[in-house]
């Protein structure tokens, strides 16, 4: 279990979207750009691939397209470092960046860029081509690449569920390759963005009803928590709890609201950006498969 603390007040959240050729990454990027309730920046491999409704385009400037909803879409033509640096220096800088990894990239190596100063990694999301993944995993040319991508994920999205007869087999195969990841499924890359970003969890402390395959439970308390108690609580969390997010206060610096989040087996803690309107006390929501989140999940926090 990895953990760290970033104390930057204005860190930008980075999410990496990986997956093999044809898994639906670009469609997901489109979905994020049009469905996001807040302005995000997406970094994509190829403008030609992304099909943005022309009515949504506000302006095109070299390697970036500004949308009327405040989102920005940038090309990775000059590489990750230069694209991330450009976004970091932008005024105002985006609060959230989503990077599309190439179809053969190891998403873990792309995610490494999400740890640079001023950034923090939210999650590695890997799109899985539900209709073809079993075949890919037995094709000697691409099996290793696909398996490595699956293994690098915090969140696995089985896409093209509509073309799939046996979701259970695919899920079992994915679990074998990555026991720690949260697995969800969808059609046409239409996944709930709150599952991706957990943003609603922070601002409203509720989990949207659409996530009907999951149960969520919330915890509220007032006294600051010790770092050690938090770490011990995370260690003891049941395996079923794979997504958690919240805002809490640490006893060492109770005046700073800290964002806690956990995706799959990865968790982190960082200071909440000033511009948000932080809730008082501690609020944490956990999400797990329906019926599998135990009642006493938050004992360690009380």
């Amino acid at each position: 279990m990895k953990s760290w603390v970033t104390l930057s007040q204005t860190a930008i959240e980075v999410t990496v979207v990986g997956g093999y050729l044809g898994a639906g990454k670009t469609t997901l990027m489109n979905h994020i750009l049009t469905a996001s309730k807040e302005p995000v920046a997406v970094l994509i491999n190829d403008f030609g691939d992304i099909n943005i409704d022309s009515e949504l385009v506000e302006s095109v400037d070299g390697n970036s397209i500004a949308l009327t909803n405040g989102c920005i879409c940038c090309s990775l033509v000059d590489g990750y470092v230069s694209a991330l640096e450009e976004l970091r220096l932008r005024e105002p800088s985006p609060e959230r960046i989503i990077i599309e990894a190439s179809g053969v990239a190891d998403p873990a190596s792309v995610a490494a860029y999400g740890h640079a100063p001023g950034l923090y990694l939210n999650a590695v999301v890997v799109m899985v081509d539900g209709a073809n993944v079993m075949e890919q995993l037995s094709d000697s040319l691409v099996a290793q690449t696909v398996a490595a991508q699956i293994a690098a994920a915090d969140l696995l999205v089985v896409n093209k569920k509509d073309l799939l007869n046996d979701l259970g087999t695919v899920r079992n195969q994915l679990k074998k390759l990555n026991a720690g990841a949260l697995i969800t499924d969808c059609t046409n890359s239409q996944i709930d963005l709150d599952l991706l970003f957990g943003s609603e969890v922070v601002s409203k402390a509720v989990v949207p009803a659409e996530m009907n395959q999951f149960d969520s439970r919330s915890h509220r308390s007032e006294d600051p928590i010790s770092r050690q108690a938090l770490a011990e609580w995370v260690e003891r969390l049941p395996d079923e709890v794979q997504r958690a997010k919240g805002v809490l206060r640490l006893d060492e610096e109770p005046q700073i609201p800290m964002v806690f989040q956990l995706v799959g087996r990865r968790w982190n803690l960082r200071a909440l950006a000033e511009r948000k309107n932080p809730p008082l006390g501690n609020q944490i929501v956990v999400v797990g498969p329906k019926g599998l989140v135990p009642e006493d999940w938050d004992v360690g926090l009380r």
């Binding site: 491999n45 030609g48 691939d49 470092v81 179809g103 873990a108 860029y113 740890h115 100063p117």
Partner: protein, 559 residues
């Protein structure tokens, strides 16, 4: 008839690589072209305006063609070299190898003292920890050079860098840095070693300074000087320059237009020039074709597209057929990496093929060669095209069966013979095992199966020197002195052919360079002794006097 003066160069021997007139002693040059070749007593030749006797004790060959190098080879010389092997810079200065950490530190101290601006970053390159005994280079060592000036040492692999504590301070690298690849000591403190691009990019100032140097005009000049020093008159920058980038075409034009720029340069168009994964490859093909049709000069050529399909054998990232790697490091997944999804290759190759371009594809492993060969076959089935010359680059593990297929499809190979010397021992012991290592870089098999091939240095991966590369292909000696796969050795003539006419062929320039014939460019390599006469073991030691490029004489720099 042109009124330009004709110069008759007299030489001890002229090797023409033209089977009709294999040898001569005089060659007449008018402007940048050859107008006559034959015996120095030939009365027709003696009608030349002037006789140039300076090569009367030298051996002339058609100018060597290095068909796979990278312009950053020139850019790196802006910074001090701290590699293990001795290496000559473009000015001819020989840099002694750094055999241990103390000599690395010593060289950097020397540089630190010379640098006027105390805040400027000190950058060095070429460090190869495999060869250095004792500790691994760390910030502690580099702090002995300076604790106030940032220092960035790029390793030979290009995948690692080591920085000092001032660079770490400036880059906010500390024990809390979460980036994977920030190496740590037992107490969790960063050692200064940054592994892989994401960690290296934390020391952004170092990396971006190197990036700028690689693309500068000085890099382009150094590239030409480096070529001249080893007798190369035509050199390919294989997909390094981003030609779609503003200013790069103009910069190449300006440099190569200079009369004293000592090389013809073939700048291959990189498939990734416009982005990490372009959908509309036809657009890219259009740009590449336009360059080839409209922007060429006598010393600047286009028309080649470079693809990179897999990684490297020594990095365990090349795609190999079973049984894959011999003794990979713990945790290695078994096979290498694809840099392009194999399913996409047909479409990519077909686009460039249709546009009339020649595709040169980096394939270190045999599985990669197969995917490329299959893509070429498919493109040819849909769009039959004569004389395309699509080329397997590196071609290190291409098998006899694959060479047969390549011959039937009209494909070429450019074989990385320098690997035999630089990594042959490691291939026999670690990456491939003795049997497959003996069959790698199989020039004799390519020859037997009738595939036209060239041999290359991939500079700066290994130093540019065609005589060294010829020596490798002829002798197949490893760094430890073993002969690796004696049955894949080729004879001197074949090796010279690979570096002249056959290299010209795969760059589509064989009608203008590659042999000494009337009407071709007056491009010569000038050697102090005859490669056909010296002991094969001594081929790499033949001194290079210099070159003639388009009739202009360029003496190699030496200390």
């Amino acid at each position: 008839m042109s009124e330009e003066p004709i110069t008759l160069f007299i030489a001890k021997k002229i090797v023409t690589m033209d089977p009709a007139t294999p040898a001569a002693t005089a060659i007449a040059v008018q402007g940048d072209r050859i107008v006559g070749i034959g015996d120095s007593e030939d009365p027709d030749l003696k009608k030349a305006t002037q006789i140039d006797n300076r090569f009367s004790q030298h051996v002339l060959l058609p100018g060597f063609v290095e068909a796979h190098a990278h312009v950053m080879s020139g850019g790196l010389w802006e910074f001090p070299y701290v590699g293990f092997y001795e290496r000559a810079d473009p000015t001819g200065r020989s840099w002694k190898g750094c055999g241990d950490i103390d000599s690395v530190v010593e060289r950097l101290v020397e540089y630190d003292e010379q640098m006027e601006d105390p805040a400027r970053t000190l950058i060095a390159w070429g460090l190869d920890p495999i060869f250095l005994k004792g500790d691994r280079l760390s910030s502690t060592h580099l702090d002995r050079v300076s604790r106030t000036r940032p220092i960035f040492v790029l390793h030979a692999s290009g995948h690692l860098a080591t920085v000092n504590s001032e660079m770490m301070r400036k880059s906010s690298i500390d024990r809390h840095s979460p980036t994977p690849g920030v190496a740590r000591d037992v107490d969790g403190e960063p050692t200064g070693e940054l592994q892989e691009p994401a960690a290296m990019s934390l020391a952004l100032e170092g990396l971006s300074t190197i990036g700028k140097a690689m693309m500068s005009s000085e890099a382009k000049w150094n590239f030409g000087l480096e070529a001249r020093n080893c007798g190369v008159t035509t050199v390919a920058d294989l997909g390094t320059t981003r030609l779609a980038r503003e200013g790069q075409l103009e910069a190449w034009r300006e440099v190569t237009d200079a009369r004293n720029y000592p090389a013809r340069v073939v700048v291959a168009f990189g498939h990734y020039d416009l982005g990490a994964g372009p959908t509309d490859i036809d657009d890219l093909a259009g740009i590449a074709a336009r360059l080839s049709n409209e922007e060429e000069t006598t010393k600047l050529r286009f028309g080649i597209v470079k693809l990179i399909l897999d990684g490297s054998i020594q990095g365990f990232t090349a795609r190999l057929s079973p049984p894959h790697y011999f003794d990979p490091p713990p945790g290695h997944p078994g096979n290498g990496l694809w840099l392009i999804p194999p399913e996409q290759m047909s479409k990519i190759v077909a686009s460039y093929h249709k546009a009339g371009l020649t595709v040169h594809c980096h394939c270190n492993g045999d599985e990669a060669s197969q995917v490329f060969i299959d893509a070429v076959e498919e493109a040819l089935t849909v769009h039959p095209r004569d004389d395309h010359r699509h080329t397997v680059q590196h071609s290190q593990l291409t098998t006899a069966k694959q060479y047969r297929k390549m011959a039937s499809l009209g494909m070429n190979a450019n074989i990385f013979s320098n690997h035999i010397f630089y990594w042959g021992d490691q291939h026999a012991e670690i990456t491939l095992g003795a049997q497959r290592a003996a069959a790698m870089d199989a020039c004799a098999t390519a020859e037997r199966e009738n595939v036209r091939f060239s041999i290359h240095s991939d500079a700066p991966i290994t130093p540019m020197s065609q005589l060294h590369t010829i020596w490798c292909a002829v002798n197949r000696k490893t760094a430890s002195g073993k002969t690796l796969g004696p049955n894949e050795r080729i004879d001197v003539h074949k090796a010279i052919e690979a570096c002249t006419i056959d290299a010209a062929h795969q760059l589509r320039l064989d009608n203008e360079i590659g042999s000494l014939q009337v009407g071709k460019f007056a491009d010569f390599t000038v050697l102090e002794s005859d490669p056909y006469e010296v002991e094969p073991e001594k081929l790499k030691d033949i001194p290079v006097w210099g070159t003639v490029v388009g009739g202009v004489v360029h003496e190699a720099a030496s200390e």
